[in-house]
């Protein structure tokens, strides 16, 4: 009798597994708004952020009819809070594109490693640093998708109209490299009173203490680093870091090429000042050309600005530096093996070569080398020749650095102290050395405690 039961079980088991493979499941995935136009999206319209996840979900459900995919577009503001709340409520999404890979999710044993799902071809195709962004204790936890960010902290945007108005020569193509001295000389000419009322109407640049990536961009110009290469200590109070912060303070208070009040400004103030012609230079990569395009279509910006991408000025001793980062998709732990397999399949599907190509629409590069080769960014911004900007941008991000240190450490809890240090220095309430020393003293126990 027992033998019969065993035999029956053995016969039924494969049948049951097949049934399980075909079982109806629902997958949820969350993403912040990525305004990517999917194939067939009407010309002249601006995607809202819904179209891309809807397209991906529909395509995936066509491929796997037994799977229902529910996507959710979570706004940037409050994104982290919503994810945290869902985790603590025990109901996180199955697949998530975090804003910045969070090593805590791995430490809390919440994520599935993706190693066994990565093919040899994938490993060769993904940019090494993009793959390493999600590497913790020797395992990979993130399917890389986008390469670099929107260009904040990596490159600058120049308004050539204001350069021409002030008869300032643009840095030379193709790479537009310039030294700090050349940049400063240009910045002084680009700061001016247009209407003769004795007040500065146009500044060369905006410094914003709450804009962490561009602050770190400036600090890295001079060889300053937030965290050491080993990821064991904050080292931004080095003499290079102090010199860099002193330079930033001088831009506001000595050279007066950046507006005062930097302590209260954030990244959207820098964007707004460039868009409104109140600053001759802003920040960002080619993605920011797409933002101008979008704002014009949405009516937020009256006239398009023809912008050029240029690297941050370089200290010849340190060479060009850019912010090295990437983003991708993580899969939360699953109890059901089939659901785990399909969640991983969904993350793989979003980041496959075919779907990675869609990033081109947003003027983003992909984390796949093979996909980037096919990008030509044609016809996206009618008023700006994008291809030369791509050349500048790619050249800049070749010299990329992870500004926040190795991905295995989480500096997030300390960043409010970093912003406070920038605010203190830029408003001259502390010297650059005092501000950075204080930051290191306050931040170290939060990040490098036992």
């Amino acid at each position: 009798m027992r033998k019969r039961v065993l035999l029956l079980s053995a016969l039924l088991f494969p049948a049951l597994s097949t049934a399980s493979a075909q079982q109806k499941i629902t997958l949820t995935w969350w993403i912040n708004p990525w305004r990517i136009a999917p194939p067939g999206f009407p010309e002249g319209k601006t995607p809202t952020g819904e179209e891309f996840p809807k397209y991906i979900s529909d395509q995936f459900m066509k491929k796997y009819p037994n799977v229902t995919v529910k996507y959710e577009v979570v706004p940037n503001q409050g994104f982290r809070e919503k994810v945290t709340a869902s985790i603590f409520a025990g109901n996180p999404p199955d697949v998530l594109r975090p804003i910045g890979f969070d090593t805590n999710l791995v430490k809390q044993n919440l994520l599935e490693p993706i190693d066994k799902y990565l093919t040899a071809e994938d490993r060769l195709d993904f940019l090494p640093y993009a793959l390493n962004e999600g590497k913790v204790n020797g395992n990979y936890y993130m399917w890389p998708w986008n390469n670099s960010n929107n260009g904040m902290g990596s490159t600058m945007l120049l308004n050539p109209k204001i350069f021409a108005e002030r008869k300032v020569a643009l840095p030379k193509a193709p790479y537009r490299n310039w030294t700090l001295e050349q940049w400063l000389a240009a910045a002084q000419k680009l700061t001016f009173d247009r209407n003769g009322d004795g007040k500065t109407d146009v500044y060369a640049i905006t410094l914003a203490a709450q804009d962490t990536e561009n602050m770190l961009g400036w600090l890295n110009r001079f060889g300053g680093q937030l965290v050491n290469d080993q990821g064991t200590a904050f080292v931004i109070n080095s003499k290079e870091g102090v010199a860099a912060l002193q330079f930033m303070v001088d831009l506001i208070h000595k050279y007066k090429v950046a507006p005062d009040g930097a302590s209260g400004l954030g990244v959207y103030d820098t964007i707004d000042n460039l868009h409104q012609g109140r600053a001759a230079m802003g920040y960002g990569g080619i993605y920011e050309i797409g933002r101008i395009d979008r704002y014009v279509k949405e009516g937020k910006l009256k006239d398009p600005i023809n912008v050029l991408v240029a690297p941050f000025p370089n200290d010849p001793k340190t060479g060009p530096v850019a912010y090295q980062t990437s983003g991708g998709f993580v899969v939360f732990k699953q109890k059901d093996p089939y659901k785990q397999k399909m969640a991983m399949e969904l993350a793989r599907f979003i980041t496959n070569k075919e779907n990675d190509k869609l990033l081109e629409d947003l003027l983003y590069f992909s984390a796949r080398k093979s996909v980037n080769k096919g990008f030509d960014f044609k016809g996206i911004a009618a008023y700006t020749d994008v291809r030369p900007q791509v050349t500048v941008y790619l050249n800049a991000i070749k010299s990329g650095k992870p500004y926040y240190g190795p991905s295995s450490i989480d500096v997030q809890p300390a960043m409010k102290y970093f912003t406070a240090a920038m605010q203190a220095a830029l408003s001259k309430q502390k010297t650059p050395k005092q501000a950075l020393d204080d930051f290191v003293a306050q931040a170290t126990p939060l990040v490098f405690k036992k």
């Binding site: 982290r80 302590s263 209260g264």
Partner: protein, 303 residues
């Protein structure tokens, strides 16, 4: 001699009264279920959380460790001080403004009163987010409206939200200007209830207008004032929205309030236990403050 115990149920009509009591309980039951489920249980959960290390995969009782961590964090002291300063000035000026406006509106016709009360109440029904965004522009250091006005007067621009000495006053100013609508409505109602003869008699007796205000009006509207001070303090102690949108607690933590710190601790640092301990301490502070206000301001209140 044995006395018979008379209970409501054993009295004539007792059954009817019991049925009435049960009906009354049934009427409040739906509300109580909601109150119990969505208020009491979460509050009890938050209290329990304050004594635990709460991680997604594990929970552990840690006694008073979270409270020790809160008191060891200098930022909590800064946040408490900022919140206290903010509350003191906002409640003071808010109430002062409301009282002045209500007093000025009192002699006007009903139609005019209604118009002004509606106008002053309008910001209360506008989203705090929208108000904060508008004021971000007003306070913009380089291109903001406030600095444009200063420049017209020949004064230098001020980095309102970028300076540690002006950021908190700027937020207070914004809240005083935009708030107080409901207080005006309540104080107007309180003023309208005062018999006119009292004013007239006092004036005939030679009292000055200020004397009438101080000695006749204020004592008679004291219950309303007490209510506004207590509720205003409780609400203002929980300031979050404008800090989150306009300053993120900066510059240099000069606008970090306790609720903003709770939010940061819970959602940025994932320390739910510590955040709950902070919330418990805030609750205790608010409770004690409200009790003191009742005791102090309520001494001469006659209901």
């Amino acid at each position: 001699m044995i006395k018979a115990r008379i209970t409501p149920a054993s009295r004539p009509g007792g059954q009817w009264r019991r049925a009435q009591t049960i009906t009354a309980y049934l009427f409040i039951l739906p509300n109580f279920i909601f109150f119990f489920t969505f208020f009491l249980i979460p509050v009890a959960g938050a209290v329990a959380l304050a004594f635990m290390e709460y991680l997604p995969g594990s929970q552990r009782f840690v006694g008073l460790d979270n409270f020790r961590a809160v008191f060891a964090d200098p930022l909590f002291g800064v946040a408490l001080r900022n919140t206290a300063v903010y509350t003191f000035f906002v409640v003071l000026f808010w109430l002062g403004k409301a009282l002045l406006i209500a007093y000025l509106l009192d002699p006007l016709s009903k139609f005019t009163q209604t118009f002004f009360k509606s106008a002053f109440y309008l910001p209360s029904v506008t989203s705090g987010v929208i108000i904060s965004l508008v004021w971000l522009w007003i306070f913009n250091p380089t291109f903001g409206l406030l600095n444009a006005l200063l420049n017209l007067l020949g004064l230098d621009s001020v980095a309102w939200l970028g300076n540690t000495s002006t950021a908190l006053p700027a937020l207070i100013f914004m809240h005083v200007v935009m708030g107080g609508g409901s207080s005006i409505v309540l104080l107007s109602a309180a003023l309208a209830r005062i018999p006119r003869e009292l004013y007239e008699t006092a004036l005939l007796d030679g009292a000055s207008r200020l004397g009438v205000f101080r000695n006749v009006i204020v004592p008679l509207i004291q219950p309303t004032l007490l209510y506004l001070v207590v509720t205003g303090t409780i609400n203002t102690f929980q300031v979050f929205e404008s800090v989150y949108i306009m300053t993120q607690g900066g510059p240099q933590f000069s606008t970090t309030t306790v609720v903003y710190l709770i939010y940061e601790t819970a959602f940025v640092q994932f320390q739910l236990g510590t955040a709950s301990a902070q919330a418990m301490i805030l609750f205790l502070f608010t409770f004690v403050l409200a009790a003191v206000q009742f005791k102090w301001l309520g001494r001469s209140v006659e209901y």
